[in-house]
Amino acid sequence: MEDYHGMWAELGLDLERHDEFLEGLGPAYQEIYLNQEFRPKGMEYFDFTTSEIHGLRIKELLELKKKGHKIVGTFCVYVPEEIVMAARGVWVGVCGGSQFSIPDAERILPSNLCPLIKSAFGFMEAKTSPYYQVPDFFVGEATCDGKKKVWEIFGNYVPFYTMEIPNSKSYMGKRLWLDEVIKFKEKMERESGVSITPEELEEKIQLINRKRRTLARFFDLRKADPPPISGKDALLVSQIAYYDDPERFTTKVNVLCDELEEKVQKGMGVVKKGTPRIMISGCPFALPFWKLHHTVESSKAVVVCEESCVGTRYFTNPVDEGCPTLEDKFKAIADRYLKINCSCFTPNEERIEEIARYVRDFKVDGVILFTLQFCLTYSIECIKVQKALKRFNVPVLEIETDYGEQDVGQLQTRIEAFIEQIS
């Protein structure tokens, strides 16, 4: 592997602590990922990308930046990717998924705050990840209370833009959101000095749609019994989607899918046919949060679907293609994004319908409702989801956890007991 210390130093990283962070990841990756059996060959690319995520990918981003592309750090799947790209920008998801940076965040932020927010803030503040040094600016969104208030603080450190997301999908909510999409387009144009043309936008809509359809194809393959890929590997693919070049990513996921298709045809899988199938539903899984999947898959079960922003919510519903005018295209984009069923909306009945559909399609034996600690919206919504799933007779386990390791023993017992219950 190339030595990137020069690049990291130039970015102003705290080299010593950054090394410490990377050194911790290696053994975890070995244990959680590389020790798996029957891994598809197509995962090699994702192993490589993960290992180079602070290296080669950063180098690429810096080169793009030199060529005049704007690097945009984002925290939510509501920030329209195609608009960023149509204005010659690069969209990178930079949510935090590690315990490592949380003590740094807690020096400033309250500790009873969602770990995803704290982790991102900590990496930024202590300069322990290049993803907070490279972007030209960051886009936050007014979704949950934690995020929207932390963005105000974030903005004291780095250039920051906040999109307003409506609280409901009402008529007024839709109008507000379309307005926000247009305002964001203008912001992107100001930043990059280009005006978005209909051709350029259409091209990017189609590009991101291809990525979405490919991920949908990938998830479809997990419906097989036995599934041809572990939940952990599938999770990694969903996580890399936030970092990688969309064109290349799509190609690589398709290559992986070809391989998986063959396996499915031959009835080959990563586990025995009939292994209990788990869906995890709830909060996002920011890289490198693998704890929950790892615990499930070490307990004689397999994860077949994530109803999550790192999962189905990222790719369901393409944007309408071929809309005649620029205005129509923005409308199509706004419409598509507002179909994402995030618990920050009220009401959010569509999410429950979506979950019920996945339970059927993915032949799910049990659902784990996953909440990151202190995430109020998802944790309260568990009550409704649980009630609905009871009607369908689907066993449910609620798990609230954070990025730390201290509850691993407890988690293991609860998850194993859940799997005993449904086997």
Partner: protein, 251 residues
Amino acid sequence: MFGGIDIGSRTVKIVVMENGEVRDFQVRNSGYDPYAQASELASELIKAYKPKRLVATGYGRHAFEVDFAHSVITEIKAHSLGARYLCPNCRTVIDVGGQDSKGISLNEKGRVINFRMNDRCAAGTGRFLEIMAKTLGFSIEEFGKEALSAEESVKINSMCTVFAESEVISLISRRVPLLSIALGVHKAIADRISSLIGRLNLSPDVVFTGGVANNICVHRLLERKLKQKILVPRHPEIVGAMGAAIEAGTA
């Protein structure tokens, strides 16, 4: 002959069963090294009874599987099997051990259909009681009986073991009668357990297992709170190990 071992955070329990009867059992403090205690107990048992199979449960189960056990089951399944064996109509198990408390719902056939378990902290567990008994100067064996004789109780507000301990100390220094504090402590733990299991269907028979079930005050307070008769088997602390032994006999 079949054996079950329950490696808990505070104690290690081992049970030997033959033809559906308990032949022998032992309980030992886990001390600093629960695994060493468990290995010693298991070696003695294997020598004495030569069980056909040995199943492990409890939080140390996985470490143990490698060397001794034929298979492992979780405490949830173990307590369900054990409670069901002792009480064939059991539909709800409340298990309160050294560091965990759990509520388990069973269907008519005795299968687990739902369960709740405390999160990472020790509030509402045996450890909480132990620390409070010590702070108040009671022996753990007498703590429940004494508390039950109190005429009044004070409210303990802290859920956290550490904060509750300082709360208790300040009550003592304010000369609140020890018995009232003791009853308050028991009420706090009973509240905690009942809110944990509150979301379950508490169908009868309700069986209370784990070391804390030996505490008559927690037992009575829970009955009052849940408005249900609660059955406590003899030696409730070995029900998990019994369940493991039953699993060993059926697997």
